[in-house]
Subunit: 282 residues, 2 copies
């Protein structure tokens, strides 16, 4: 397994790999890998000849007062996991390599798709995501890039960016991986203290209840959101950031439940902000 | 010679051409070709196996009240010229193909490099340029892209964007081509009416005088700019938009003449806005 810290070296490898007729699958991560990431790697290995995993905690996508400094990092454990998973190359640049002094370029998707949900709570977050993904795509030159459905809004924004800016690659969504009790895997789960881990199960419980209500015929969005909030409120530690039910393809608002619907939420437990979602096809 | 109006078709051709081991040179243009464009094509043919010329009058880079509607177009003449020049493919998409309904992605270089000169006179112009170039680069997948030195600021901004966002390609600058009497070639020269064509010669006259003064030892920027403005003022039709003397690599301000210096100006003759520049190495 190759490990690259340098953008030009990474790009040379990618150009060479493609020249030899191999397809490249990219799994962009911020490291501190869990089984969710490894399911992305598995999917990439199925679909592409060579797999690159990028590990980069991207300062641009963290706001002031967010957890950039504390975000968990363990490159040596990540490397072992990826070597065992049969990955061909790791791209792990420094922040200085990615954003040298004077850096002033950016890529942005504007409009309601970036303004709602995490876009409202985390100003500038998605501009940081689209900018870093552009750099990662150019350095690793993937035929396909694999993103988890857990970051549902990120996935839709990156798909829109790739489509509108004509990146020569395909975005492949991969389903959420959960703990046995239903908690969505996240590198941030390690922050959960004491009862918070148990209380965080209200998220999947509330989402599943909403799904069942929809399957049972409920079409009223206000009532569904009310029920989700009530379930979350049974956790004393939970502080809701948002609960939204939106068009699952473009995050536009819905009059009532129909088509492909995204039920998405962000909830804080102490300092730890968790997101989760379900897609329901009606 | 192939002609593509469709982005996906263009991209398929580009991927295929690269897969066959050919390098691609891209010459991005807004059409209505003159010998300046053809010198870019010539340079591309020298350096690359296959040459693509894009022809697209990009609405994003025109401001309100600018000449988007009137901008001269002649695709059939352009095609003949490019076929004769031995170009391999033309990419001529419609505005609807490039910017379908709901399009909301953008690429931007911020900071003084985009704020000065044409950036000050034409708000949003360079954001339109960097966005369209990103799309053209992804559709045509060039190893090298060729830009005229006449649009000096555009050239520096695109170089910065390519470097900072890690596009896997090289930007090649090509010297300004001039009429025998010194007027820089521009598709907008056709707008010049009556005495304006003759009076426009003050631009190259003023630039050359400044160059001579620098060669003669003048290092004071205020005096040099004063002299340039005085020469331009000898044309009754000329209205100065800007005259600048800046660092030729990044457009930062200079205390005095040293290093690689860009002398750049924009001047209106009636409704026609012309730009010109000289690079002087001290």
């Amino acid at each position: 397994m190759e490990v690259f810290n340098n953008i030009n070296k990474m790009q040379e490898w990618s150009l060479q790999t493609r020249k030899q007729g191999n397809s490249i699958g990219l799994v962009p991560t911020m490291g501190y890998l869990h089984d969710g990431h490894l399911s992305l790697v598995e999917e990439a290995k199925k679909k592409c000849d060579k797999v690159v995993v990028s590990i980069f905690v991207n300062p641009l996508q963290f706001g002031q007062g967010e957890d950039f400094e504390e975000y968990p990092r363990d490159l040596s454990r990540d490397s072992s996991l990826l070597e065992a998973a049969g990955v061909d190359a790791i791209f792990a640049p420094s922040a200085r390599e990615m954003y040298p002094t004077g850096f002033s370029s950016s890529v942005e998707v504007s409009g309601e798709i970036t303004e709602k949900m995490c876009g409202a709570s985390r100003p500038g977050h998605f501009k940081g995501v689209t900018t870093v993904c552009t750099k990662l795509f150019h350095a690793c030159l993937p035929d396909m890039a694999f993103f988890g459905q857990k970051d549902a809004q990120q996935l839709l924004i990156i798909k829109k960016m790739v489509r509108e800016l004509n990146f020569p690659l395909k975005i492949v969504p991969v389903p959420i991986v959960r703990e046995e009790d239903g908690l969505a895997l996240s590198s941030r789960n390690v922050y959960l203290e004491g009862v918070q881990r148990q209380e965080a199960l209200v998220l999947i419980k509330a989402l599943k209840q909403a799904e069942e209500q929809i399957r049972g015929g409920e079409r009223d969005i206000t009532r569904l959101i009310g029920a989700i909030k009530a379930t979350i409120a049974t956790s004393p530690q939970a502080k809701i950031d948002y609960v939204e039910i939106l068009n699952g393809d473009n995050l536009s608002g819905l009059e009532r439940i129909e088509g492909r619907v995204l039920i998405a939420l962000a909830v804080k437990f102490g300092k730890t902000r968790l997101i989760d979602n379900l897609l329901v096809e009606v």
